[in-house]
Amino acid sequence: MLYHIGRYIMWHRMIFRRPENYRMYYKEVIRQMYDIGIGSLMIIFVVNVFIGAVTAVQFTYQLSGTFIPNYYIGYIVRDMAIIELAVTFTSIILSGKVGSNMASEIGGMRQKEHIDAMEIMGVNTSSYLVLPKLIAALIVIPLLVSIAAIVSIFGGYIATIYSGSFSHEEFIQGLRSFFNPFNVKMMYVKAFVFAYILTSIACYQGYFVKGGSVELGHASTRAVVFGIIVILIADYVIAVLLTG
Protein backbone atom coordinates (compact mmCIF):
# COMPACT_ATOMS: atom_id res chain seq x y z
CA MET A 1 0.00 0.00 0.00
CA LEU A 2 2.77 2.44 1.02
CA TYR A 3 4.64 1.49 -2.17
CA HIS A 4 1.64 2.54 -4.29
CA ILE A 5 1.14 5.79 -2.37
CA GLY A 6 4.83 6.61 -2.82
CA ARG A 7 4.80 5.75 -6.52
CA TYR A 8 1.57 7.70 -7.04
CA ILE A 9 3.13 10.81 -5.48
CA MET A 10 6.45 10.45 -7.32
CA TRP A 11 4.61 9.89 -10.61
CA HIS A 12 3.21 13.44 -10.41
CA ARG A 13 6.68 14.79 -11.20
CA MET A 14 6.40 13.11 -14.60
CA ILE A 15 2.82 14.24 -15.20
CA PHE A 16 3.56 17.92 -14.69
CA ARG A 17 6.58 18.10 -16.99
CA ARG A 18 6.49 20.67 -19.79
CA PRO A 19 4.45 19.28 -22.73
CA GLU A 20 6.33 18.44 -25.93
CA ASN A 21 3.68 20.06 -28.10
CA TYR A 22 0.88 22.22 -26.66
CA ARG A 23 -1.36 21.75 -29.70
CA MET A 24 -1.41 17.98 -29.33
CA TYR A 25 -2.28 18.36 -25.64
CA TYR A 26 -4.99 20.90 -26.46
CA LYS A 27 -6.60 18.50 -28.95
CA GLU A 28 -6.53 15.75 -26.35
CA VAL A 29 -8.05 18.05 -23.68
CA ILE A 30 -10.96 18.87 -26.01
CA ARG A 31 -11.55 15.16 -26.74
CA GLN A 32 -11.50 14.32 -23.04
CA MET A 33 -13.82 17.23 -22.18
CA TYR A 34 -16.31 15.89 -24.68
CA ASP A 35 -16.02 12.33 -23.33
CA ILE A 36 -16.34 13.31 -19.68
CA GLY A 37 -18.87 16.11 -20.12
CA ILE A 38 -21.27 15.24 -22.91
CA GLY A 39 -20.82 11.52 -22.32
CA SER A 40 -21.90 11.80 -18.67
CA LEU A 41 -24.61 14.46 -18.93
CA MET A 42 -27.56 12.07 -19.19
CA ILE A 43 -26.67 9.86 -16.22
CA ILE A 44 -25.84 12.91 -14.05
CA PHE A 45 -29.22 14.42 -14.97
CA VAL A 46 -31.26 11.31 -14.19
CA VAL A 47 -29.49 10.44 -10.93
CA ASN A 48 -29.63 13.97 -9.55
CA VAL A 49 -33.32 14.52 -10.38
CA PHE A 50 -34.12 11.48 -8.25
CA ILE A 51 -31.68 12.38 -5.47
CA GLY A 52 -33.36 15.79 -5.15
CA ALA A 53 -36.81 14.20 -5.30
CA VAL A 54 -36.00 11.57 -2.67
CA THR A 55 -34.44 14.18 -0.36
CA ALA A 56 -37.57 16.34 -0.61
CA VAL A 57 -40.04 13.46 -0.11
CA GLN A 58 -38.03 12.01 2.78
CA PHE A 59 -37.75 15.31 4.64
CA THR A 60 -41.40 16.15 4.02
CA TYR A 61 -42.25 12.82 5.70
CA GLN A 62 -39.83 13.34 8.61
CA LEU A 63 -40.89 16.91 9.31
CA SER A 64 -44.64 16.32 8.99
CA GLY A 65 -46.42 16.80 12.29
CA THR A 66 -43.66 19.02 13.64
CA PHE A 67 -43.72 22.80 14.13
CA ILE A 68 -41.08 23.30 11.42
CA PRO A 69 -42.64 25.35 8.61
CA ASN A 70 -43.14 23.74 5.17
CA TYR A 71 -40.86 26.16 3.36
CA TYR A 72 -37.90 24.64 5.23
CA ILE A 73 -38.04 21.72 2.75
CA GLY A 74 -36.91 24.02 -0.06
CA TYR A 75 -34.06 25.30 2.12
CA ILE A 76 -33.01 21.74 3.12
CA VAL A 77 -33.13 20.43 -0.47
CA ARG A 78 -31.07 23.41 -1.69
CA ASP A 79 -28.35 23.12 0.95
CA MET A 80 -28.21 19.31 0.84
CA ALA A 81 -27.77 19.47 -2.94
CA ILE A 82 -25.19 22.24 -2.91
CA ILE A 83 -23.09 21.19 0.06
CA GLU A 84 -23.13 17.43 -0.25
CA LEU A 85 -25.38 15.41 -2.51
CA ALA A 86 -24.79 16.91 -5.96
CA VAL A 87 -21.02 17.00 -5.68
CA THR A 88 -20.52 13.68 -3.89
CA PHE A 89 -23.00 11.65 -5.93
CA THR A 90 -21.76 13.16 -9.20
CA SER A 91 -18.16 12.36 -8.30
CA ILE A 92 -19.03 8.81 -7.26
CA ILE A 93 -20.97 8.26 -10.48
CA LEU A 94 -18.12 9.71 -12.53
CA SER A 95 -15.64 7.57 -10.64
CA GLY A 96 -17.60 4.55 -11.85
CA LYS A 97 -18.24 5.74 -15.37
CA VAL A 98 -15.27 7.93 -16.32
CA GLY A 99 -12.72 6.46 -13.88
CA SER A 100 -13.12 2.89 -15.07
CA ASN A 101 -13.10 4.10 -18.66
CA MET A 102 -9.82 5.99 -18.17
CA ALA A 103 -8.18 3.05 -16.39
CA SER A 104 -9.23 0.67 -19.18
CA GLU A 105 -8.15 3.06 -21.94
CA ILE A 106 -4.67 3.65 -20.54
CA GLY A 107 -4.30 0.03 -19.37
CA GLY A 108 -5.29 -1.20 -22.84
CA MET A 109 -2.65 1.08 -24.37
CA ARG A 110 -0.08 -0.37 -21.98
CA GLN A 111 -1.00 -3.92 -22.98
CA LYS A 112 -1.02 -3.23 -26.72
CA GLU A 113 2.45 -1.63 -26.41
CA HIS A 114 1.09 1.78 -27.46
CA ILE A 115 2.74 3.36 -24.42
CA ASP A 116 6.07 1.67 -25.26
CA ALA A 117 5.76 2.93 -28.84
CA MET A 118 5.23 6.49 -27.62
CA GLU A 119 8.10 6.21 -25.13
CA ILE A 120 10.44 5.14 -27.91
CA MET A 121 9.36 8.14 -29.98
CA GLY A 122 10.43 10.29 -27.03
CA VAL A 123 6.95 11.19 -25.78
CA ASN A 124 6.53 11.70 -22.02
CA THR A 125 3.60 9.29 -21.80
CA SER A 126 2.77 10.06 -18.16
CA SER A 127 2.18 13.64 -19.15
CA TYR A 128 0.60 13.11 -22.59
CA LEU A 129 -1.85 10.48 -21.40
CA VAL A 130 -2.74 11.93 -18.00
CA LEU A 131 -2.39 15.72 -18.02
CA PRO A 132 -5.09 16.34 -20.68
CA LYS A 133 -7.47 14.09 -18.73
CA LEU A 134 -6.74 15.98 -15.50
CA ILE A 135 -7.23 19.38 -17.13
CA ALA A 136 -10.44 18.24 -18.84
CA ALA A 137 -11.78 16.78 -15.59
CA LEU A 138 -10.92 19.94 -13.62
CA ILE A 139 -12.85 22.03 -16.16
CA VAL A 140 -15.80 19.75 -16.85
CA ILE A 141 -16.56 18.08 -13.51
CA PRO A 142 -17.26 21.37 -11.63
CA LEU A 143 -19.60 22.28 -14.51
CA LEU A 144 -21.33 18.91 -14.22
CA VAL A 145 -21.62 19.43 -10.46
CA SER A 146 -23.26 22.83 -11.05
CA ILE A 147 -25.78 21.21 -13.39
CA ALA A 148 -26.27 18.38 -10.87
CA ALA A 149 -27.07 20.84 -8.06
CA ILE A 150 -29.62 22.72 -10.17
CA VAL A 151 -31.22 19.51 -11.43
CA SER A 152 -31.32 18.10 -7.91
CA ILE A 153 -33.19 21.15 -6.59
CA PHE A 154 -35.51 20.92 -9.58
CA GLY A 155 -36.14 17.24 -8.73
CA GLY A 156 -37.04 18.21 -5.18
CA TYR A 157 -39.39 20.91 -6.47
CA ILE A 158 -41.19 18.55 -8.88
CA ALA A 159 -41.55 15.82 -6.23
CA THR A 160 -43.09 18.09 -3.59
CA ILE A 161 -45.20 20.41 -5.74
CA TYR A 162 -46.75 17.74 -7.94
CA SER A 163 -47.38 15.40 -5.02
CA GLY A 164 -49.32 18.24 -3.44
CA SER A 165 -47.23 18.27 -0.27
CA PHE A 166 -47.04 22.07 -0.33
CA SER A 167 -47.19 25.03 -2.67
CA HIS A 168 -44.84 26.49 -5.25
CA GLU A 169 -44.53 29.70 -3.17
CA GLU A 170 -43.48 27.76 -0.05
CA PHE A 171 -40.75 25.87 -1.92
CA ILE A 172 -39.42 29.07 -3.52
CA GLN A 173 -39.48 30.84 -0.16
CA GLY A 174 -37.38 27.97 1.25
CA LEU A 175 -34.93 28.24 -1.65
CA ARG A 176 -34.48 31.94 -0.91
CA SER A 177 -34.07 31.56 2.84
CA PHE A 178 -30.81 31.47 4.80
CA PHE A 179 -28.66 31.41 1.68
CA ASN A 180 -24.95 31.37 2.45
CA PRO A 181 -22.72 31.91 -0.63
CA PHE A 182 -19.87 30.12 1.17
CA ASN A 183 -21.72 26.83 0.60
CA VAL A 184 -21.36 27.28 -3.15
CA LYS A 185 -17.65 27.90 -2.68
CA MET A 186 -17.45 24.70 -0.65
CA MET A 187 -19.22 22.81 -3.44
CA TYR A 188 -16.63 23.98 -5.97
CA VAL A 189 -13.71 23.20 -3.67
CA LYS A 190 -15.07 19.68 -3.33
CA ALA A 191 -15.72 19.43 -7.08
CA PHE A 192 -12.12 20.35 -7.95
CA VAL A 193 -10.61 18.04 -5.34
CA PHE A 194 -12.85 15.09 -6.26
CA ALA A 195 -12.22 15.62 -9.98
CA TYR A 196 -8.49 15.48 -9.37
CA ILE A 197 -8.76 12.40 -7.15
CA LEU A 198 -10.95 10.31 -9.43
CA THR A 199 -8.95 11.13 -12.56
CA SER A 200 -5.47 10.69 -11.12
CA ILE A 201 -6.30 7.43 -9.32
CA ALA A 202 -7.94 5.97 -12.43
CA CYS A 203 -5.00 6.97 -14.64
CA TYR A 204 -2.52 5.58 -12.11
CA GLN A 205 -4.29 2.22 -12.05
CA GLY A 206 -4.34 2.04 -15.85
CA TYR A 207 -0.82 3.30 -16.42
CA PHE A 208 0.90 0.78 -14.17
CA VAL A 209 -1.21 -2.25 -15.10
CA LYS A 210 0.74 -5.47 -15.67
CA GLY A 211 -0.45 -8.72 -17.19
CA GLY A 212 -3.45 -9.51 -19.35
CA SER A 213 -7.15 -8.79 -19.60
CA VAL A 214 -7.92 -10.18 -16.12
CA GLU A 215 -5.43 -7.74 -14.54
CA LEU A 216 -6.88 -4.93 -16.66
CA GLY A 217 -10.32 -5.75 -15.24
CA HIS A 218 -8.90 -5.69 -11.71
CA ALA A 219 -7.19 -2.36 -12.38
CA SER A 220 -10.46 -0.91 -13.63
CA THR A 221 -12.26 -2.15 -10.50
CA ARG A 222 -9.51 -0.76 -8.24
CA ALA A 223 -9.79 2.60 -10.01
CA VAL A 224 -13.46 2.78 -9.05
CA VAL A 225 -13.17 1.37 -5.53
CA PHE A 226 -10.11 3.41 -4.46
CA GLY A 227 -11.50 6.47 -6.22
CA ILE A 228 -14.74 6.31 -4.22
CA ILE A 229 -13.00 5.59 -0.90
CA VAL A 230 -10.53 8.45 -1.32
CA ILE A 231 -13.34 10.80 -2.44
CA LEU A 232 -15.32 10.02 0.73
CA ILE A 233 -12.25 10.52 2.93
CA ALA A 234 -11.54 13.83 1.18
CA ASP A 235 -15.20 14.80 1.61
CA TYR A 236 -14.86 14.37 5.36
CA VAL A 237 -11.55 16.25 5.52
CA ILE A 238 -12.90 19.19 3.47
CA ALA A 239 -16.04 19.32 5.59
CA VAL A 240 -13.96 19.45 8.77
CA LEU A 241 -11.54 22.02 7.38
CA LEU A 242 -14.11 24.36 5.85
CA THR A 243 -16.82 24.19 8.47
CA GLY A 244 -14.75 23.59 11.61
Binding site: E20, M24, E113, H114, A117, I120, M121, G122
Partner: protein, 261 residues
Protein backbone atom coordinates in the same frame (compact mmCIF):
# COMPACT_ATOMS: atom_id res chain seq x y z
CA UNK B 1 26.80 1.42 -34.25
CA UNK B 2 25.21 -0.09 -31.14
CA UNK B 3 27.34 -1.90 -28.61
CA UNK B 4 26.24 -3.92 -25.60
CA UNK B 5 28.74 -4.56 -22.82
CA UNK B 6 28.05 -7.29 -20.27
CA UNK B 7 24.29 -6.79 -20.13
CA UNK B 8 22.48 -8.44 -17.25
CA UNK B 9 18.75 -8.13 -16.69
CA UNK B 10 16.78 -9.70 -13.86
CA UNK B 11 13.10 -9.64 -12.95
CA UNK B 12 12.95 -10.42 -9.25
CA UNK B 13 14.95 -13.60 -8.76
CA UNK B 14 14.81 -14.57 -12.42
CA UNK B 15 17.88 -13.59 -14.41
CA UNK B 16 16.80 -13.30 -18.05
CA UNK B 17 19.97 -11.85 -19.58
CA UNK B 18 23.19 -13.29 -18.19
CA UNK B 19 25.99 -11.10 -19.46
CA UNK B 20 25.63 -10.34 -23.17
CA UNK B 21 28.29 -8.57 -25.22
CA UNK B 22 28.04 -7.70 -28.92
CA UNK B 23 28.20 -4.87 -31.39
CA UNK B 24 25.85 -4.06 -34.26
CA UNK B 25 27.26 -2.14 -37.18
CA UNK B 26 25.49 0.51 -39.21
CA UNK B 27 24.25 -0.22 -42.71
CA UNK B 28 23.77 -3.85 -41.74
CA UNK B 29 20.72 -5.90 -40.91
CA UNK B 30 21.53 -7.37 -37.53
CA UNK B 31 19.39 -10.27 -36.38
CA UNK B 32 18.87 -11.57 -32.87
CA UNK B 33 17.68 -15.16 -33.11
CA UNK B 34 16.79 -17.75 -30.53
CA UNK B 35 13.92 -19.88 -29.43
CA UNK B 36 10.93 -18.53 -27.51
CA UNK B 37 11.85 -17.60 -23.94
CA UNK B 38 15.55 -17.18 -24.76
CA UNK B 39 15.42 -13.50 -23.78
CA UNK B 40 15.28 -11.92 -27.26
CA UNK B 41 12.45 -9.49 -26.54
CA UNK B 42 13.91 -8.50 -23.17
CA UNK B 43 17.24 -7.92 -24.90
CA UNK B 44 15.62 -5.78 -27.60
CA UNK B 45 13.62 -3.76 -25.07
CA UNK B 46 16.75 -3.29 -22.98
CA UNK B 47 18.70 -2.12 -26.03
CA UNK B 48 16.01 0.37 -26.93
CA UNK B 49 15.84 1.66 -23.34
CA UNK B 50 12.39 0.40 -22.34
CA UNK B 51 14.03 -1.77 -19.66
CA UNK B 52 16.96 -0.64 -17.53
CA UNK B 53 19.71 -3.29 -17.51
CA UNK B 54 20.47 -4.63 -14.02
CA UNK B 55 24.13 -4.14 -14.91
CA UNK B 56 26.18 -3.46 -18.02
CA UNK B 57 26.25 -0.66 -20.58
CA UNK B 58 24.67 0.04 -23.94
CA UNK B 59 26.44 2.39 -26.31
CA UNK B 60 24.80 4.20 -29.21
CA UNK B 61 27.92 5.26 -31.13
CA UNK B 62 29.79 7.22 -28.44
CA UNK B 63 26.79 7.75 -26.12
CA UNK B 64 26.32 5.55 -23.07
CA UNK B 65 22.54 5.03 -22.78
CA UNK B 66 22.53 4.74 -18.99
CA UNK B 67 24.49 7.95 -18.48
CA UNK B 68 22.49 10.24 -20.74
CA UNK B 69 20.63 13.20 -19.27
CA UNK B 70 16.87 13.41 -19.92
CA UNK B 71 17.47 15.98 -22.66
CA UNK B 72 20.14 13.87 -24.36
CA UNK B 73 17.96 10.78 -24.10
CA UNK B 74 15.06 12.62 -25.73
CA UNK B 75 17.38 13.73 -28.53
CA UNK B 76 18.54 10.14 -29.01
CA UNK B 77 14.99 8.80 -28.98
CA UNK B 78 14.19 10.89 -32.05
CA UNK B 79 16.86 8.92 -33.91
CA UNK B 80 15.25 5.59 -32.99
CA UNK B 81 12.40 3.87 -34.84
CA UNK B 82 10.75 0.68 -33.73
CA UNK B 83 8.37 -1.83 -35.22
CA UNK B 84 6.52 -3.78 -32.55
CA UNK B 85 5.41 -7.40 -32.74
CA UNK B 86 1.77 -6.34 -32.45
CA UNK B 87 2.39 -3.20 -34.55
CA UNK B 88 1.24 -0.89 -31.71
CA UNK B 89 -0.78 1.25 -34.12
CA UNK B 90 -3.20 3.58 -32.33
CA UNK B 91 -6.67 2.19 -33.09
CA UNK B 92 -8.49 5.51 -32.77
CA UNK B 93 -6.27 7.20 -35.37
CA UNK B 94 -6.21 6.80 -39.15
CA UNK B 95 -3.15 5.41 -40.91
CA UNK B 96 -2.05 8.96 -41.76
CA UNK B 97 -2.49 10.18 -38.17
CA UNK B 98 -0.57 7.16 -36.89
CA UNK B 99 2.38 7.76 -39.18
CA UNK B 100 2.25 11.53 -38.63
CA UNK B 101 2.13 11.21 -34.83
CA UNK B 102 5.90 11.63 -34.21
CA UNK B 103 5.92 14.63 -36.57
CA UNK B 104 2.89 16.15 -34.83
CA UNK B 105 4.65 15.74 -31.51
CA UNK B 106 8.10 17.01 -32.36
CA UNK B 107 8.08 18.87 -35.65
CA UNK B 108 7.10 22.43 -36.42
CA UNK B 109 6.42 21.63 -40.08
CA UNK B 110 3.15 22.70 -41.70
CA UNK B 111 0.39 20.15 -42.17
CA UNK B 112 1.06 20.05 -45.93
CA UNK B 113 4.74 19.27 -45.35
CA UNK B 114 3.87 16.57 -42.86
CA UNK B 115 1.32 15.03 -45.24
CA UNK B 116 3.94 15.00 -48.00
CA UNK B 117 6.34 13.16 -45.72
CA UNK B 118 3.61 10.68 -44.72
CA UNK B 119 2.80 10.04 -48.40
CA UNK B 120 6.49 9.53 -49.15
CA UNK B 121 6.78 6.94 -46.33
CA UNK B 122 3.59 5.19 -47.45
CA UNK B 123 4.93 4.97 -50.99
CA UNK B 124 8.21 3.62 -49.62
CA UNK B 125 6.32 0.73 -48.02
CA UNK B 126 4.18 0.31 -51.18
CA UNK B 127 0.94 1.42 -49.58
CA UNK B 128 -0.03 4.67 -51.29
CA UNK B 129 -3.55 5.98 -50.85
CA UNK B 130 -4.56 4.30 -47.61
CA UNK B 131 -4.13 7.50 -45.54
CA UNK B 132 -7.68 7.64 -44.28
CA UNK B 133 -8.19 4.00 -43.39
CA UNK B 134 -8.14 2.86 -39.77
CA UNK B 135 -5.76 0.08 -38.65
CA UNK B 136 -8.74 -2.26 -38.18
CA UNK B 137 -9.65 -1.81 -41.86
CA UNK B 138 -6.34 -3.12 -43.25
CA UNK B 139 -4.69 -6.56 -43.22
CA UNK B 140 -1.98 -7.72 -40.79
CA UNK B 141 0.73 -7.41 -43.45
CA UNK B 142 -0.39 -3.89 -44.30
CA UNK B 143 -0.40 -2.99 -40.60
CA UNK B 144 3.21 -4.16 -40.38
CA UNK B 145 4.13 -1.92 -43.30
CA UNK B 146 2.28 1.03 -41.74
CA UNK B 147 4.28 0.30 -38.56
CA UNK B 148 7.49 0.47 -40.64
CA UNK B 149 6.33 3.73 -42.24
CA UNK B 150 5.78 5.22 -38.77
CA UNK B 151 9.15 3.92 -37.59
CA UNK B 152 10.99 5.65 -40.46
CA UNK B 153 9.02 8.92 -40.51
CA UNK B 154 11.70 10.81 -38.53
CA UNK B 155 14.57 9.32 -40.62
CA UNK B 156 15.92 7.19 -37.77
CA UNK B 157 19.56 6.29 -37.38
CA UNK B 158 18.67 3.12 -35.48
CA UNK B 159 15.78 0.84 -36.41
CA UNK B 160 14.46 -1.97 -34.20
CA UNK B 161 11.91 -4.61 -35.14
CA UNK B 162 10.45 -7.20 -32.81
CA UNK B 163 9.32 -10.35 -34.64
CA UNK B 164 8.33 -8.46 -37.82
CA UNK B 165 7.20 -11.67 -39.55
CA UNK B 166 5.11 -13.22 -36.84
CA UNK B 167 1.61 -14.11 -37.99
CA UNK B 168 2.32 -13.37 -41.65
CA UNK B 169 2.17 -15.68 -44.67
CA UNK B 170 5.59 -16.56 -46.19
CA UNK B 171 5.19 -14.24 -49.18
CA UNK B 172 4.28 -11.22 -47.05
CA UNK B 173 7.03 -12.13 -44.58
CA UNK B 174 9.62 -12.05 -47.39
CA UNK B 175 8.28 -8.68 -48.50
CA UNK B 176 8.66 -7.26 -44.98
CA UNK B 177 12.21 -8.67 -44.75
CA UNK B 178 13.19 -7.15 -48.08
CA UNK B 179 11.68 -3.84 -47.07
CA UNK B 180 13.59 -3.69 -43.79
CA UNK B 181 16.81 -4.75 -45.49
CA UNK B 182 16.52 -2.20 -48.31
CA UNK B 183 15.63 0.65 -45.91
CA UNK B 184 18.72 -0.27 -43.89
CA UNK B 185 21.02 -0.16 -46.92
CA UNK B 186 19.46 2.97 -48.47
CA UNK B 187 19.74 5.06 -45.32
CA UNK B 188 22.83 3.40 -43.85
CA UNK B 189 21.07 2.82 -40.54
CA UNK B 190 21.73 0.29 -37.79
CA UNK B 191 18.87 -2.18 -37.90
CA UNK B 192 18.28 -4.80 -35.23
CA UNK B 193 15.63 -7.42 -35.84
CA UNK B 194 14.40 -9.95 -33.36
CA UNK B 195 13.23 -13.12 -35.08
CA UNK B 196 13.03 -16.88 -34.98
CA UNK B 197 12.19 -17.14 -38.66
CA UNK B 198 15.01 -19.00 -40.40
CA UNK B 199 14.05 -17.76 -43.86
CA UNK B 200 14.65 -14.19 -42.61
CA UNK B 201 17.99 -15.29 -41.25
CA UNK B 202 19.05 -16.74 -44.59
CA UNK B 203 17.69 -13.82 -46.62
CA UNK B 204 18.76 -10.71 -44.76
CA UNK B 205 21.08 -11.70 -41.91
CA UNK B 206 24.23 -9.60 -42.35
CA UNK B 207 25.09 -10.14 -38.72
CA UNK B 208 23.39 -12.84 -36.65
CA UNK B 209 23.42 -13.18 -32.86
CA UNK B 210 22.10 -16.44 -31.48
CA UNK B 211 20.81 -15.99 -27.94
CA UNK B 212 20.28 -19.06 -25.80
CA UNK B 213 19.13 -19.05 -22.17
CA UNK B 214 20.04 -15.40 -21.73
CA UNK B 215 23.55 -15.69 -23.17
CA UNK B 216 25.06 -14.90 -26.55
CA UNK B 217 25.75 -18.41 -27.83
CA UNK B 218 27.01 -17.63 -31.32
CA UNK B 219 27.61 -14.66 -33.62
CA UNK B 220 28.30 -14.68 -37.36
CA UNK B 221 26.71 -14.01 -40.76
CA UNK B 222 24.24 -15.87 -42.95
CA UNK B 223 26.91 -17.73 -44.91
CA UNK B 224 28.42 -19.10 -41.70
CA UNK B 225 25.23 -19.96 -39.84
CA UNK B 226 24.42 -23.28 -41.55
CA UNK B 227 27.92 -24.65 -41.21
CA UNK B 228 28.47 -23.56 -37.65
CA UNK B 229 29.81 -26.22 -35.32
CA UNK B 230 27.72 -24.88 -32.43
CA UNK B 231 25.47 -27.77 -31.47
CA UNK B 232 22.76 -25.62 -29.81
CA UNK B 233 22.53 -23.40 -32.88
CA UNK B 234 22.29 -26.45 -35.18
CA UNK B 235 19.50 -27.86 -33.02
CA UNK B 236 17.68 -24.53 -33.22
CA UNK B 237 18.05 -24.20 -37.00
CA UNK B 238 17.13 -27.78 -37.80
CA UNK B 239 14.38 -28.13 -35.24
CA UNK B 240 11.80 -28.49 -37.99
CA UNK B 241 11.51 -32.08 -39.43
CA UNK B 242 11.30 -30.59 -42.93
CA UNK B 243 14.66 -28.83 -42.57
CA UNK B 244 16.16 -31.94 -40.97
CA UNK B 245 15.12 -34.00 -44.02
CA UNK B 246 16.46 -31.31 -46.32
CA UNK B 247 19.80 -31.28 -44.51
CA UNK B 248 20.04 -35.10 -44.63
CA UNK B 249 19.33 -35.07 -48.35
CA UNK B 250 21.94 -32.36 -48.92
CA UNK B 251 24.52 -34.39 -46.99
CA UNK B 252 23.65 -37.54 -48.94
CA UNK B 253 23.90 -35.56 -52.17
CA UNK B 254 27.34 -34.24 -51.16
CA UNK B 255 28.44 -37.77 -50.26
CA UNK B 256 27.31 -39.21 -53.61
CA UNK B 257 28.98 -36.37 -55.46
CA UNK B 258 32.17 -37.04 -53.49
CA UNK B 259 32.10 -40.76 -54.34
CA UNK B 260 31.49 -40.00 -58.03
CA UNK B 261 34.43 -37.60 -58.03
Amino acid sequence: MIRAVDIHKSFGDTEVLKGIDFSFEEGKTNLIIGKSGAGKTVLLKTLVGLFQPTSGHIWYDDQNLSQLSKKELLKLRKKVGMLFQGNALFDSMTVEENIRFPLDMFSSQSLAEKTNRVNHCLERVSLPGINHKYPSEISGGMQKRVGIARAIILNPKYLFADEPNSGLDPKTAIRIDELLSSITKENNITTIINTHDMSSVMEIGDNICFVHEGKLEWQGNKSEVLNSSNQTLQEFIFASPFLKRLKRKALEHDKTQGQQD
